[in-house]
Structures are given as C-alpha cells and as structure tokens.
Symmetry: C2
C-alpha cells in the first residue's frame, strides 16, 4: 500500500469532483472456477484499490458526500477463519492504513442505503463488469438487474477518470516495477522460444515469472507463431525454424499496477531478410510515434503518424502504392494495421476500460470514429503530463482480410494485391513499449529491453 | 476430447437416470478480472464438459427427455471473430465430435424454454456456483434470483453423481496425466525450496509447469512454511533453514481432469529429528489408510483408521495419552488433524463439490456429522470400484486452537498440554496421494513420487 495520506487525498479529490450525493464502490468478490470454493486468484476492483488500497474480497466503500461521511463495510474474520487461514488483520486495521476511520459489518449496508434512497440522495456507482456486482447493486438499490449498467453515474465516471488518468510519481514507480518484470518475461520468451518448443511451454514460464515476482499476469499472455491473429493466445503448437514468435505479455505488481510489452522475434537464431525488413518498418513507425509524444498532441494524430510511417515502409516493399497521406486518409493501411496504436496503462492494462472508452480515451468534443481501424483506437484525446500510454504499431497479414478486400477490389490505387498475395503467409509483427507523458515529451518506463532485430538476434 | 461414442453413451445414461422432463446444462461464460474484456482463463463447467466435451464459452445444452430430443445452442463465430481470432470451428462441427446432431443460435433458447414451461415439463438444472449462471437461469426460467439455488433438481444431481463418481479407463488415464504433471510440480518444489527463496518464487514456477503441460492449476497452490494454516496459499515469506515447506498442488490436464498431491519437505537439506519423527507418523497413517481401501468399506471408517494411527504415533511422542479408540471417539485427535482424510477427484479437484456433499460424499442413509473434524470430511460413503479418492492425513499444530482447548481444559485425559505447548511452533505436515478403487483394493494413480523423509532428503 501507499501511505494513508495518498489514499486520503485521493478520496478528498473524488469528493470534490463528484460534488454531491453518495458514492458506493463495491470491491470485488471471489469467483468460483468450477465450484464455489475453488476460486480464481482474487483480483480487487481497480477503482476500489485506487481509493482504499485494500486487497481483500467482500468489502464496500461508501462516501456520503452530502453528509461528509465515509465508511468501509465488510465482515470481520471469525475464529474459524483464523484457525483455517491464520491470524488476520481486522477490517478497521486495514481501513486505518487508508486513513478511513470508520468501518462496520456488511449488515449495516442495506439500512444505510435505504436511508440514502428515502432521503432522495443521488447514488453514484460505476458500471459493473461482473454479474455478482450487478446482482448486488440491483438488490441494494432496487434497480432491475438489466438496468443496472445504464444507471451508472457519468459524474462519478468522469471524476474517477480525471484522477486515475494522471499518474503520480509513486504510481509511475509501481508501473515501472511491472514493466521490468514484464521485460524479464520477454527475455525468457526470446531465449526460450526454439524450434521444437511449444507455445504453451514458453507461455507457462512467463506466467511463472509474473507470479514469482509477487503479482500475476496483467492480462492473458499472447505468445504465438501466428502473430497476425490479433487475439490469439497460445496453444500446443510446436514452433518451427523460420517462424517468428509474437509475445505480448504483462505482469501486474503486488499492488496491481500493470506492465505491457510486445516483442516479435525469430524462433530460430535469425530472422529471414524479409522478416528483418518488415521488423524495421514497424520499428520506424514506433520510433516516429514516440518522437511525437508530448502534452497537447492528440493521440489520434500520433496514431496517424505511425500509420504514415507504416505506409511509407510498405510502399518500399511494393505492397502499397500511391500518396501516403491519401492512403491513410482512405484507411488503406488497415489491411496491415487493423487496430489502434495504443492505450492508457495503469491499475488496468487497458486502464479504466470498464469506465467507458468515451470518457477514458475520448472527450465530449472528440468522439471515437466508427471506421474500421479507428474504431479499435482506444485512445484519441490530447495527451497530458502524467498520462501513461503504450505505443504498439504492427503489421499483420491476415489472409481472410486480404481475400475480403480483394473480392470487392477495395482501394486498388493503394494496395498492390499481387505483391500482397505473395506475402499472405508472412504472419504478424508488433513492437510495444510503455511511456509516461512528461512536461515536454515522454519518458520510457522501465529499463530498456532489446528491441531492434539485431539486439534480439544477439540474445538467441 | 474422447470419442463421440463416449459422450453419446454418457448422455443416454443421463436420460435414463433422470427419466423425464427437460435437462438444461449451461456452460460457463468468460469472467472479467478487472474489466469485462480482461478475462480469467476460461474454465468450462465440469458437468457440461462431461456430457459434451466442448471447451468453449457461451453454450447451453438441452436434453428434452420427454420428446427424446437434444440440442446445443450458441452463437457462431462472425467474420470479425475470424479476423481477430483466426479460423474457428462452427458449433455444429464441435457438436458432431460429441455426437450431438442438432445445434442452433442462442436466440432459440428462450422460445424453447417457454414452450417447455407452458407444456408443464419439469425443468432440471444443477445448483449454479457463479452469479452469471444464476442470473441466466433466473431470466430464462422466470425464477427469482434468490430462489434459483433451491430450485435445483435433486433427481438430476443424483443421476449425474451416479455417473461421474465411477471413472472409466479413459478418465483414469487422463487423471494419471494430471497426477504426473503434479508430480513434476512437486519435484520442482522440493528441489526449488531453499533457504533464502520466497514462497511466491517457488509457487510461480509450479503454475508455469502446469500451464506448460497444456492445462492449468486444478486449484490455487498451497506452498508455505506455515503448513499448519490449512488454507494458507503462498506469500512473499522468505523460507529459512530448519523450516519445513508444505506443498499441496495440482495440475489439470487440457481436458480438465485434476491431479492433487501434497508433500512436506525441508527447506534446507535435512529435516530435524523431530520433523522426521512426525513425518513418519503421518506416513504410517497414510499407509494404514491406503491398506484399508477396498470396495464396500465406508470412507469414514478409513478416516478413523488414519486417525487411530495418528493418535498412536502422537502418544509415542508424548503429545497424546489414554486409549486410542476412546481418544478418536472423543475427537481428541482433532487438535492435530482438524480436517478430513480425503475427497473424490475427477473433473473437479473436489469432484462434483458444487452438486452437494450430501449427494457426492454421503447418501440418504449416511449423513455427514456436524462434529468438529468430521464436519470437514467430504467423503464418508462406501467405496465402489472406479471411485478416485485422495488420501491425505496430516498433523497441524495450530497455536490458536491449542489455546482455545486448553482454556476450557478440553479432553485432558487424551491431551498432554505441557508437551503440546512445547510443540506449539512445530508447523504442519501433510502427505497426499491419489488412488482408484479397484475390484479388490486400490491402485496408486500416476508414477510413484518421493514420499519418505529419506527419499525427499535425497532430492535436496
């Protein structure tokens, strides 16, 4: 945990940001994998963690702004719990560390909410992403289950996003810890991937490293020789000489701050010449995007800078043609780069995603595009000092997509389909690092990790 | 997957076992860790897997016994899914492998259930253990959310338990795969635990091994120098010379059959003399229990055999005294062995736990005791050929429990409190292996793993 002053200041800022009403932040519960008591590893809700630091299931935090009161509710460990799970801190001991002076049993929650409802207080909550939280809010607040999500408080969402988007020095230090563990995972992947090893074998080791560092994975690992399949994770596939492996992985620290890095490297000792060329193209796109990071710049424009670099590179290979800016404006690059350049990073790997992209990545004035490619850009708004973002351009050659485009002869002025078809089994390359926006530009988070094809080949 | 004949035969047997009505088996859904799309690893419901073998979220299996029809419902992959996740089998292709000839979209579910409800068919479902399944059943069947659990079908539960309790040859082969991966995890723990290493460091490696073998953990790993705390998992605790580490871990295979083994071993190269003596006592209890395994014997009686062995051993150490059988009858052994001797093992590590211990571990005639100790015995009923069980006696010295008993001078005729207090920081030892009940006795599942203190010291 951070110091109690940090949590107290965060909650005071939240109180000021929301202005009035009553805020209810339910923490997460344990969830059964295949029966109730065989649970997944416990993951606290990130917003609950941000304001309380308490990493324990079964809690609810209430901030009654109208009456200037706060309380944390949960059940105390019983003597049975102590026999079975050892000595435990009381809830108040945990609350004290967050500067919350009042605690009580869960049974106090319903009367408290009933009183707030009958007094006509506005109740603020965030959109739930788990069914158990939805059921709880439905019961507590007498809202039909299907309507809970739509009754979430935009005022609360905006106040939370305004705070969590700007990372403090101590948060940056935690994220860097997560990034450095992630870098250790990447090194294990680069050195561990060999002709004859399986994807699962390497992916297993990476999760082991994340857990051994005191946290866990920040998201399910992607480790695949089919890097062009964007949401592929890992399988029993045996990796072969001549293939590239794409590894997109992340550790979260014990405090649940995330790292997120991607490298694409040869399974054997060397890339092929073509793989080296495309890797260089992606690297140039990443470097151009990084150079453009500074406060005030729209991240959407940084995305376009990367897209233009990709198009220039792909023109060099003969896969694309025509005017670069016109090609990007027409979306021709999305045959190879179907997704967005990056996203915010923090307590969530897609930071605050459950609060809604419209508030996290965009603003009331800058709405997300619905076009193919741009609809997958999670972040578009102007950068501010303290934002933490990933920069992760890529080139993905997806046979099914080529066939779809070619069938309707889509954008032939920019796409050289003959050349592209010769490339249809190329695969995919992505390069990703994490950055904080500073007062004048950006700073790489974590220790530098091998990135050029030369540096990665040197590790094999 | 097994062959389609196996799944077809299982469903035919289910149909005969339930007799009439309509059975609905919802598969599991993806669950968000910290936002909707950042999911835990997918774990299919074990009963759904038992009857269909299909390891994919978002499906519902319907067996309409009254009309002798079956269908599997779920949404087909879209072209977007294929672009993002690669070529996917259709639902009917997957269903075919299980011998299910009819499939349809999820939108067909509600009309089908409405028709069954209005025709007055009995709808059978098992008690849900996840909130999203509860909410689904509540909506589909028009049952208030809070009443779903109590409306589960005892007929269906009993029919499923009767089938799943008896493991076939191909299931035993899968369980043995899981046990052998678990043994590899144990070897890594025994050799990896060293003075100066942390619990998380070793625990992380074990999860890596389980994933690398193509499955995952069958339950959250217990790896701790505080083995007396029964539900301790692992922490950043640094292990020290002179301590013992207790490792209770399991792998599940790609088909989701579980292994479950426990070893307790020295952190350094050798046990102390006292640790060796207590380890021998636990081992003798385990061997006595194993020798007693055969069809027709109540598992509760096997439990008592182990308890008596433990008491005999503890009397030898001077910790207990008096007549052994009387001591066990009075529950005096529960100061050191607070839990049960074992449980069924299969697609769940506590097999079928969500179906209810009253049906899985006990019968209408043999109910579970509510006494301390026995209330934690998950299995009591008569053994049958094909049952797979764990045998896991232990000695756990829990200071808080000693203090509670001594404060009320509980059973002083059997407990030598002076001696016990000298032992209060001893810790805990458990030894666990997995067995199938054969026609005449039992058979160890998996390859033998180092078990005596001599064998374990030899590995250090």
């Amino acid at each position: 945990m951070f110091t109690k002053d940090i949590y107290t200041a965060r909650r005071q800022k939240l109180q000021a940001g929301v202005g009035n009403g009553l805020v209810i932040l339910p923490g997460n519960e344990e969830i059964g994998m295949n029966y109730r008591h065989n649970t997944y590893h416990f993951r606290q809700d990130s917003t609950f963690l941000y304001y309380t630091g308490i990493n324990r299931p079964g809690l609810v935090y209430i901030l009654d702004i109208d009456n200037n009161k706060e309380i944390i509710l949960g059940n105390e460990p019983t003597i049975d719990d102590i026999v079975w799970t050892g000595p435990l801190e009381t809830l108040q001991q945990q609350a004290d560390k967050a500067g919350i002076t009042q605690s009580g049993p869960l049974s106090a929650l319903q009367p408290l909410l009933d009183k707030a409802l009958s007094a006509g207080q506005t109740i603020h909550f965030t959109p739930p992403y788990r069914a158990d939280t939805t059921a709880q809010l439905s019961g507590w607040l007498q809202i039909p289950y299907a309507q809970v999500n739509s009754r979430a408080s935009v005022t609360l969402i905006k106040a939370i996003v305004a705070q969590r988007a700007i990372k403090s020095a101590e948060e940056l230090a935690e994220i860097e810890k997560g990034v450095n563990t992630t870098a250790a995972m990447q090194l294990a992947a680069i050195t561990g991937a060999r002709p004859g090893s399986s994807e699962i074998e390497v992916a297993g080791k990476l999760q082991g490293i994340a857990i051994s560092a005191g946290g866990n994975l920040s998201f399910p690992t992607i480790l695949t020789v089919n890097g062009q399949i964007l949401h592929n994770h890992f399988s029993e596939t045996i990796m072969q000489e001549g293939q590239m492996a794409l590894c997109d992985c992340g550790a979260e620290t014990a405090m649940r701050y995330a790292g997120d890095l991607t490298r694409t490297f040869p399974v054997g000792k060397r890339f092929t010449d073509t793989q080296r060329e495309v890797h260089d193209i992606v690297l140039q796109a990443q470097l151009a995007a990084i150079a453009a990071l500074k406060p005030g710049v729209l991240f959407r424009d940084v995305h376009f800078i990367a897209c233009e670099q990709l198009v220039d590179g792909l023109k060099g290979l003969g896969l694309m043609q025509g005017d670069t800016k016109e090609a990007v404006a027409a979306g021709a690059h999305t045959l190879f780069f179907q997704c967005g350049l990056g996203h915010m990073l923090g307590l969530d790997v897609h930071d605050m995603e459950n609060l809604g992209e419209a508030y996290v990545g965009y603003t009331d004035d800058l709405k997300k595009s619905t076009e193919f490619g741009l609809k997958s850009l999670r972040l578009g708004r102007a950068l501010e000092p303290g934002f933490v973002v990933t920069i992760e351009p890529g080139v993905y050659v997806i046979p099914e997509l080529i066939d779809m485009w070619q069938a309707k002869n889509h954008l032939p002025q920019f796409i050289n389909y003959n050349k592209v078809n010769a490339f249809r089994n190329f695969g995919g390359i992505r390069i990703e690092d994490d950055f904080v926006i500073t007062g004048t530009g950006s700073r790489l988070l974590g220790n530098p990790l091998a990135k050029t094809w030369q540096e990665m080949e040197a590790l094999k």
